[in-house]
């Protein structure tokens, strides 16, 4: 507004910018530098040369891209019809479908992978049952197919939630107008409904691609010979073949280049569909009839049951007797007793501390940045806005690695502390919460704040008493999902954790990788229950079906 010499918001801009420089740009720079150095610290492109000269390495990036594109397509193919049936027809028990979908996409992916191994793996229940009862040998769940199965089932609900939002914004009069001009049924579905939803389809595709590409747990557990990029980075960093930070850094740089390319391709594609919708008359849901209606119900319930089955099965397993990797007949709480001895209390305490403090920082920073970007647009604030989107294209493993390089040695020796975990989690989730806070603030008319000022309220008072309460709904809906994502975070945490800063997710993963399957089931069950409770609280509080991710 006016040119003032000194203003609190300028100070906030500078502080945020400094924090970004320290916690994002500096580690990124360190990563970049390491990638072009030899372990002895001399400049060299040998890391990149080595990567591109050996098929052992190059194949991983092809693997990652192949499986991620396949997962994205399958998720769209599964999720769009699901969303269509849900949004345009009165399905029975639609609330259940909705809640379970959110539960599916908010669970930690590697728990799904682990559970599917228990079901369809070499000695999985279903595998054994089919073999002994019917003599059928089912195809292996390991490798490409396994990753595709687990990730698709995990990510199609994400597509569903996105598409549901888009379908709700289609004005019924558009549907009626196209019917008037003789365009109905499947024709209308593709020419009107899908065409209008293209921006959302692209947004959902990007989201699925980024998450699937960065997913570390699923390919680690299920990939076996089929090595993907995050797994390669992790192995280079901590692998059996010996550590090579420089090579791992080079891999991280390549990963960022891939995701950045995908990100800009998506932006370019979205630019071709520039229109916005806001339905005055949302489409009225029709009653599904006859055999078609039955098939719709069958499709939705079967799909959601398959997607949710692993989580239920884990809870069931957690009560089974177990010794090492073998589940025995009979039920008991022995797995939970074992968990108590294995840092359960510390895991829960760390998870809570991490979750609460990261979330608090994320909310405060996101609200401030949204306000700076929307209400006080300036060159510096635009730089902050652009920088805040940077983590969007950085896979979790890359963030973990870059923080490790930056803060692994003096003067910032933070490795193994909860602080560095908080930093990683804040960086990971910040872009999402900023997006939802910015979107919320943009919808709030500036004149409401001006009204407060004209009534004698100071700018700070207006911000606290008017702006923040009005943003609260939008921020909360984003925050609780961030909370769940923080609690189930694996890919960056696995590089940064140690025994002192272990979390529930890490305990689960550690138990799985050590072959303590009963123990793993107990940890996973607790994690699942925490997720479910968080989401139930969220749905009860927000009373809305508009979930922002």
């Amino acid at each position: 507004m006016k040119s003032r010499k000194f203003e609190i918001w300028t100070v906030i801009s500078v502080v945020i910018l400094a924090a970004f420089l320290l916690f994002m740009v500096y580690p990124m720079f360190g990563l970049l530098r390491q990638s072009v150095e030899t372990p002895e610290g001399e400049f060299s492109m040998q890391n990149f040369a080595e990567f591109f000269s050996k098929p052992y390495y190059t194949v991983t990036i092809l693997n990652s891209i192949k499986v991620t594109i396949a997962v994205t397509l399958v998720s769209l193919v599964l999720g769009i019809p699901f969303a269509y049936f849900y949004s345009f027809y009165q399905l029975k028990g639609s609330k259940v479908l909705f809640v379970v979908s959110i539960l599916c996409c908010m669970s930690a992916p590697f728990i799904g992978a682990y559970s599917w191994i228990m079901l369809l793996g070499r000695s999985g229940v279903i595998t054994n049952f089919l073999k002994s009862a019917l003599g059928i040998t089912i195809p292996s769940v390991y490798g490409f197919k396994g990753i595709l199965l687990v990730q698709s089932l995990k990510f199609f609900p994400l597509v569903f939630i996105y598409m549901n939002g888009a379908f709700k914004n289609i004005d019924n009069t558009l549907m009626e107008a196209s019917a008037n001009m003789g365009c109905t049924g499947v024709n209308r579905l593709f020419r009107i409904v899908m065409a209008l939803s293209m921006p959302t389809i692209l947004a959902a595709s990007l989201m699925v691609f980024m998450q699937a590409f960065a997913d570390f747990g699923t390919p680690m557990l299920l990939g076996e010979g089929y090595q993907t990029f995050p797994v390669l980075i992790y192995n280079q960093y901590l692998g059996e073949v010996g550590q090579n930070y420089n090579f791992a850094a080079a891999l991280a740089v390549i990963a960022i280049i891939v995701t950045a390319m995908v990100f800009f391709f998506q932006k370019w594609a979205t630019g071709k569909f520039k229109f916005s919708m806001n339905a005055l008359h949302p489409v009225e849901k029709k009653k599904p009839r006859g055999i078609t209606g039955l098939l719709m119900h069958l499709y939705c319930y079967l799909l959601i049951a398959i997607a949710f089955m692993p989580q239920l099965y884990i809870i069931y397993l957690s009560f089974r007797n177990c010794s090492g990797a073998i589940f025995k007949p009979g039920f008991s709480l022995m797995n939970y007793h074992a968990a108590m001895n294995k840092l359960l209390v510390r895991s829960i305490r760390n998870t809570t501390i991490l979750g609460v403090s990261s979330l608090a920082i994320i909310i405060v920073v996101a609200v401030l940045i949204a306000y700076l970007v929307v209400r006080r647009s300036s060159a510096m604030n635009n730089v902050i806005d652009t920088m805040s989107m940077l983590p969007y294209i950085m896979p979790g493993a890359v963030i973990g690695l870059s923080l490790l390089i930056a803060f692994g040695k003096k003067p910032f020796a933070l490795t193994g502390t909860l602080t560095i975990m908080v930093i990683a989690l804040v960086i990971r989730r910040l872009p999402y919460t900023i997006r939802s806070a910015t979107a919320t603030l943009m919808q709030i008319s500036l004149s409401v704040e001006e009204a407060a000022i004209s009534l004698g309220a100071s700018k700070l008072k207006t911000f606290v008493k008017i702006t923040i309460p009005m943003m609260a709904n939008g921020i909360l809906s984003g925050a609780i999902l961030s909370w769940v994502a923080i609690v189930t975070e694996l890919s960056s945490a696995i590089i940064l954790y140690n025994n002192r800063s272990i979390t529930l997710t890490m305990s689960t993963y550690a138990a799985i990788s050590r072959g303590n399957y009963g123990l793993a089931a107990a940890f996973a069950a607790i994690l699942t229950v925490v997720t479910i409770i968080s989401l139930v609280i969220y749905l009860a509080v927000s009373k809305t079906e508009d979930v922002q991710l």
């Binding site: 008319s445 004209s454 004698g456």
Partner: protein
């Protein structure tokens, strides 16, 4: 009605004089205001004096800079040049929160997370008044605006008209020096708009607070205003009472923007000291109101309001030959759409009579009421007649 301007906190500065027990409301004086967005000049050089207690309207097409000017007065837009005074006190650098203005916004800007009562008392709380006074004032103004029965409702459960009343109560109860309205009725339906403009006018008269009102609706402006400033492209075209502006518009823009005008080409002919107005089709009529300095032969633009034509079915009389194309019966009035033999199309309004409707296709003669018509220079920039009043700002 009682005066609500009484005992107002005197933030208008030393120049707010007191007459007996009543504060005289402030004057607003704008000198050489300049507004730019980057290199884009919105308001080049605008001066304006608004009198105390006056209901003053800024009227103009969208994009003419009227809302920009209002927001400069409110303090929400920066001022690139010139000076703004409230009763002689310069306010350019005064924080908007300290200008003691009551503002009503186009979208009402009701705080959606507060009840009606909380909305109304918000400004009083910022003044740190005692709780009892806040309560009594809030009650008083909610009652005045007839929203006291909704005091504990959330705004989303109010209709547009009720929200508008909340916005008004909220702006009024801080007893502001100046009331600002930014197109406050444009989100209401036609019937409510007429009702609310009466409410706004009556309240303004009873509280007697200097008011600046922005609208693009000329009928609304005429209905509520003491005086109107017609703006176009950041420049004030004319300032005056609704009657002065309607009857003697300063230029062609004002003439066509306020009310309906038929615009025809013509010329002035001076013969033996008498001035004749000659239409494009050659019809001559004597006109006596041309200013002395413009009494010479010249091309002009003639602006005739639809009610200033007199159609005659008798074609033998003197007048402009015309043919009726269409007639529309609207109850009180009947509108005729006719074309002249010069090809120009004009609209005529006549009070409906019981039987003598002129059928489409009929040849008629049009006479012009030369006392009422306006004659502009060929470029439309200046009215050539006596009686044009535009209140210039004092230097």
């Amino acid at each position: 009605m009682r005066k609500h301007g009484r005992n107002r906190r005197n933030s208008g500065g030393e120049s707010s004089k007191r007459k007996g027990n009543e504060t005289v409301s402030v004057t607003i004086s704008i000198k050489h205001a300049l507004k730019k967005y980057g290199e884009n000049v919105i308001i080049p050089d605008l001066s304006l004096d608004i009198r105390e207690g006056e209901f003053f309207t800024l009227l103009g097409p969208s994009g003419c800079g009227k809302t920009t000017l209002l927001r400069m007065i409110a303090g929400f837009n920066s001022i690139e040049g010139g000076d703004f005074f409230f009763s002689g006190r310069r306010i350019n650098d005064l924080d908007p929160a300290r200008r003691n203005i009551g503002m009503v916004f186009q979208n009402y800007a009701i705080f959606p997370h507060m009840t009606v009562r909380k909305n109304v008392e918000f400004g009083l709380k910022n003044k740190k008044l005692p709780a009892a006074e806040i309560k009594s004032k809030t009650d008083e103004f909610m009652k005045l605006m007839q929203i006291d029965q909704y005091a504990d409702r959330m705004p989303e459960r109010l209709s547009g008209g009720q929200q508008q009343r909340v916005a008004l109560a909220r702006a009024l109860c801080i007893e502001p020096d100046v009331l600002l309205f930014d197109e406050p009725l444009s989100n209401l339906d036609a019937k409510l708009r007429v009702e609310m403009r009466t409410v706004i006018k009556n309240i303004q008269h009873s509280v007697n607070i200097t008011t600046v009102y922005v609208t693009h609706d000329q009928e609304e402006a005429m209905a509520v205003s003491d005086r109107i400033a017609v703006m176009n492209a950041g420049v004030i075209q004319q300032v005056g009472t609704p009657r002065a502006i309607y009857q003697r518009p300063a230029n062609l823009f004002v003439s066509t923007f306020i009310g309906r005008s038929n615009v025809m080409k013509g010329h002035l002919a001076v013969e033996d000291g008498k001035v004749w107005l000659v239409t494009g089709s050659g019809h001559r009529a004597q006109i006596e109101t041309v200013q002395e300095q413009y009494k010479k032969d010249q091309e002009v633009v003639i602006s005739v309001r639809p009610e200033e034509f007199l159609p005659c079915a008798d074609t033998t009389v003197d007048g402009i030959p015309a043919v009726v194309d269409d007639c529309v019966f609207l109850g009180l009035n009947t509108h005729y759409f006719v074309h002249l033999d010069s090809g120009e199309e004009v609209e005529i309004i006549q009070e409906s009579s019981l039987d003598n409707v002129i059928r489409p296709g009929t040849q008629i003669k049009l006479q012009i009421n030369t006392e009422k018509v306006n004659v502009f220079s060929a470029d439309g920039s200046v009215n050539l007649l006596y009686g044009v009043k535009s209140d210039e700002a004092a230097e």
